[in-house]
Symmetry: C2
Subunit: 427 residues, 2 copies
Amino acid sequence: MNAEALSSPRLADADALIADLGVRARAAAKALAVATTAEKAAALRAAAAQLRARATEILDANAQDMAAGQEGGLTSAMLDRLRLDEGRLGAIADAVEAVAALPDPVGAEIDRAIRPNGMELSRVRVPLGVIGIIYESRPNVTADAAALGLMSGNAVILRGGSEAVRSNRAIYAAFAAGLAESGLPADAVQLVPTQDRAAVGALLRAQGLVDIIIPRGGKGLVARVQDEARVPVLAHLDGINHLYIDAAADPAKAVALAVNAKMRRTGVCGATETILIDRAYAAPLAIVDTLVAAGCEVRGDRGIAALSPHVTPADANDWDCEYLDAIVSIALVDGLAGALAHIDAHSSRHTDAIVTEDAAAAERFLAEVDSAIVMHNASTQFADGGEFGLGAEIGIATGRLHARGPVALEGLTTYKWLVRGTGQTRP
Amino acid sequence: MNAEALSSPRLADADALIADLGVRARAAAKALAVATTAEKAAALRAAAAQLRARATEILDANAQDMAAGQEGGLTSAMLDRLRLDEGRLGAIADAVEAVAALPDPVGAEIDRAIRPNGMELSRVRVPLGVIGIIYESRPNVTADAAALGLMSGNAVILRGGSEAVRSNRAIYAAFAAGLAESGLPADAVQLVPTQDRAAVGALLRAQGLVDIIIPRGGKGLVARVQDEARVPVLAHLDGINHLYIDAAADPAKAVALAVNAKMRRTGVCGATETILIDRAYAAPLAIVDTLVAAGCEVRGDRGIAALSPHVTPADANDWDCEYLDAIVSIALVDGLAGALAHIDAHSSRHTDAIVTEDAAAAERFLAEVDSAIVMHNASTQFADGGEFGLGAEIGIATGRLHARGPVALEGLTTYKWLVRGTGQTRP
């Protein structure tokens, strides 16, 4: 029995289903917008407790998804993303509790001014409203996204991947049970009750009902969502990230940062994919050798390939490739200007870093590289909401509007202007 | 000869034209992103000087547009928006100079933190990149949008209405001459060189070349842009604004605010369109009578219509109507809860206000009304970037993402995260 067999019969009217979910979400969002921090945190703690209490059911559901996935030929990487165990489920519950402990962004004052006529102006954060989350195999997203959405005062509509449908339903049921204890509206978090793809299309077109869509998954999913959506999308695209080793780099830092940025975890979006080395840098071979010794395949331009028999010649595609694997492309460049030109041409504008002891070079790199995250003497693997102190993240936005880089609670809010007067009329 | 006759022959390939403008804008944007405040301000002052120096040419061009418009049957309201005279042109130049004097948002630090591992994190404002402005008859938008775009470090692609094509070209030529004196790239501000509608479609689809589209004009234009665009849109929709007179309103303030909010200028988006009066308020007739005496048509619900023979009965459409005229709809409501329910059902979420001396009622209204601007004891006519101290505005955003309410220089920026380390690797 495959996952699709669990879903509802094909919908006559996906739009009607999504409209119903949307109207209920909008009503819930109104209550959530004025819920107190304590109410939201209590709901999340209750949800975390239910996730722990229902561990057996959730792990059973996950075992069924795993069995169906193995039978259906999912890759081992996909199966690993899908798999839950007691440790992973405990981490999911921990994460929900951690979100409950984060500062509530709603009601925070962004700025305040008094106008010459005496009117007081302030901007305060308010929830976005209704958030649609479309995601793939990782079942933890069900709890993570629900927790971040709820804590920021938003109603959430979740639509997970078919391969994780049983796991998602079990996690959602636990979350909903916690929510029910809290007194916040049940429709604050809804799971689309069908795996019919038509429902995804309807969600993407639900202007006025859904305020923002956040896709969580691979390139294919994100591109499809961006292409079809009429609702605004907060998207996370590729991480084709660069580490530039300047002539004035400290060699020990250069080697340590190159290995960490590439090899700590190769499948994360903050992993470095291309290393650029200044032709004037003294010790490029040590970088190549250390990477090779760490198990990394090195694809080099002519200058790098000449350094070591372990280097494969890179072709033109290598400079635009997000390997997400133990592979790195390395090129020699003509100093900082050469690095900036290469990055401008090839970066996906996610995270790029410079290694140098030259403060002026570092500041120029920070100023001129137009990426969501620009680093000096730090590993690109730090590109992460938790590492940035945001507590959690719903994703790393690679667009330029609304929010950029790691998006957490603040990124799920907007603001309104409050004007307090004493009867002022405009002349 | 009508305006279209001035435009280029129908394009074989509007996409190629827009791609060319977009590539040039992108290159200019890179230079603008690192231009100093002094350089940008000098360019704007030079542009303002050119606008003054070329007054005769600009007014001649405008006279030709006016003649063509009269012949072509433009309404008197449209002709008034189109018309320039020495005073209006002087005001356009003044506005450009005023933008030059505003604080530069680029490089401003939003926040800063030091992580436990010693990494310094900061978020700094950077330009959005390339902004497309699509507008209708008002030729002042050519200079206003160019000035706001340039000062915020963005390249701008302008596409004005056919009825103003000669005026726009003359204003653009003056602006470009000022820019040329400054040393900033000429492609920082470009005017689409054809009135062919296909170029608008191409601009709306120019993903990757244009970062945001801002429509400036009536509902029809904005709706068409939102419908067709694949590039993100910062849109300004209706201002169906409410003024709620609470039982605890001061009667003198209530009358003064009602008349000002509705009648100061009826054609602006901050004008009140519906007045809600608490059934328990003591003096509703004074509000009706003062509005009637001020020349306003009053359309009332049954309770209001019973007060005065000058009231026309409202029909169901009146509660969802942006009159932009000397017409107001007035309804009696059951206290604050009734007002909140009416506003939730009918407000376009632009600007809504309460008149009351009851501080608790005011705070509840400010908290619960989900509009871009929510006011207490102040006229909705203050909904304006200049009045809010922003110096100027590119529009009032009614969406929820990126920027909300009056949008000025800050709204034309995004941010990037800067990480300054000393060799930190991620464990």
